[in-house]
Amino acid sequence: MSEEKIEKTSKIDLDRTEMPKQPPEIRRHNFNEVALGYTEELAIKEAKRCLQCKKPRCKTGCPVEIDIPDFIACIVKGDFSAGIKKIKEKNCLPAVCGRVCPQETQCESKCILASKKGEIAIGRLERFLADWEAAQGKIDLPKKAKPTGKKVAVVGSGPAGITVAGDLILLGHEVTIFEALHRPGGVLTYGIPEFRLPKAIVAREVEYIKMLGVNVITDFVVGKTRSVDELLEEFDAVFIGTGAGLPWFMNIPGENLNGVYSANEYLTRMNLMQGYRFPASSTPVKKHTRVAVVGGGNVAMDAARTALRMGASEVRIIYRRSHAELPARLEESENAEEEGVIFNMLTLPIRYIGDENGWIKEIECIKMELGEPDASGRRRPIEIPNSNFIIPTDAVVCAIGNSPNPLVPSTTPGLDTTRHGTLVADPETGKTTRDRVWAGGDIVTGAATVILAMGAGRKAARSIHEYLMGK
């Protein structure tokens, strides 16, 4: 369908169906999910707006190419069961992706109605079907292929690892996941907060692959408890999906003061270790009144909104570029703003100042302006001389990025890395420079997205299967 036709058809409804949310003044005090999801009526209303394009562009925006118009058509008919089946052919984590995919730059941005600002709310519909299925309480287990007798080890239980495991188990292979932490799920468990992605949903997805027969071993650090080489003695193939979990710091004075956290530490304390329930849980957390979060991505928004919910009365984002360059999803920065997070844009911390007990008390910042676009295509921030100023604070959360943890690469001979510390792997197959070793997700791309990690997992699973069967 072309744009011309849209103009002529007067019946096109460009009004996106809003998804109910907890009001900002309430949700900033609790850890319950912010977005409440569509009801059946709302879902059908939204689904009916879809034009069922013959050459659906939306599909080209989805990294795993979900048959978007097909599942939407199922919703229109009220056949939710068929709809979720359709999605699951391509995506094994719809409840997660429907919530955290950057839809506005992926599927929805490609929807033909996007030019009229009326793109179909594909993510919300996907989420609706996944939640509907979960509410039914019964899960249809797909049929598994005959056992092949081949064994695959998956290192890391984030979205990449879960996808590889889920795909290979259905193809009849024996699959074991090794996870360093005590709870599986990767960033979905330790990073993304409860109010954006309830942990019960992640646990459900992990339960699902366990029901399919995947063996999940937690508290097992590959490279320490056993090396990749040792795994290769027992397993026919190894997939590495260890993510990008090494936090960056800025290398400025005062970064080791008490009260300065990496976002990983801050979010791990709250999510994985359930710090938000302290003292009922035993991992201690501090009560901070003023919290400053440095960075502008999803991680920064998550940290800021968590700090609000922990009772801080003043939470700010400090970001060196302007609003337009914020890498966070629009929805998340808007949510943060609604909840009362202050945005200090075009600002760069240059020094942390402590009190006599070694606790942070102030941040010295400098004002920035935007210059010419840099390699990333975004305008480069430049310091404005003599614009230094002080922000008083009790805590700083540093959310400026992560790179891959070197633990596995450094303990596995023959596994080549790039100068960014990511693993070298074929983008089409996930094959690394080591025989019988595949990799995918953030460990290959650097910090990216859930759906890209899943896509990489899917490709690797296909390649691993071909290898195992061709043997």
């Binding site: 360093a180 005590h182 320490k224 979990g245 936090p247 009260g259 791990t268 003292p279 849980s281 035993s282």
Partner: protein, 285 residues
Amino acid sequence: MNKILELRMIVPNMHLIKIEAPDISKKVKPGQFVIVRPDEEGERIPLSVADWDQESGTITIIFMEVGASTSRLASLKPNDYVATCVGPLGNATEIKYYGTVMCVAGCYGIGSIYPVAKALKGEGNKIITVFEARSSYLIYWLDRFVGLSEKIFTITRDGSSGYKGHVKRLPDIIHGLSQLPDIIIVNGCTYLMAQTSNITKDLNIPTIVNLNPIMIDGTGMCGVCRVTVAGKMKFACVDGPEFNGHEVDWKEFLARRKAYMEEETLFFRRSEPESKLHKEGKCQV
């Protein structure tokens, strides 16, 4: 989930726990640690491995009861399970021929330095052992060190054994030796490690400490264990836990260790009439 095979108090406030952990027992080397979570609600705490046996697939840890988690751990019984026991983590001690090695140990460090001393002895080093404790009855595993050590010295605060005083008496011991040790390795509370490093810096004796910062994951993911060593930021769990004691920023280290003091004591205020915290002042593990 790992089964507890043995758990008993060996001297007041100091417990020995033997845990079933076949994978770890095969891999662990002197100087490494594990992360233990006593129960499903528990926090993750790092503990050094003091002994292990590949054949029975077990590891042994000596831990001091200082706060909520070590207290919960101590309250478990043989045949119970700990929710998490993961490792071995951190880098191992560099085991090679140095000549004369002085092992200085206090608190749980007596346990954690034992495999280090044993392995160094195996490489032909002469071992001189120094125990530091509040009183002689707090020294344990003496028998294990007897066969290993050329000489054993003790420093006790009440003078009940050996030198009276605390780690500041170390120079008296060192100067009493026929020659300076080639290297000193210190395990135990932060105060002991910091003071020893101060003393040996002036004497120009290389000194290795086994740092014990607050940790969460123990794999380099959270950054809470960061320390400044030779002016550079290091993560103790992956870059250490052993560092050159002369290069550690001890003031910063001590401040970071105390970060959660207030919250940690909440546990005792809630559950116990009086604090069991090691009252010795400076020896907060």
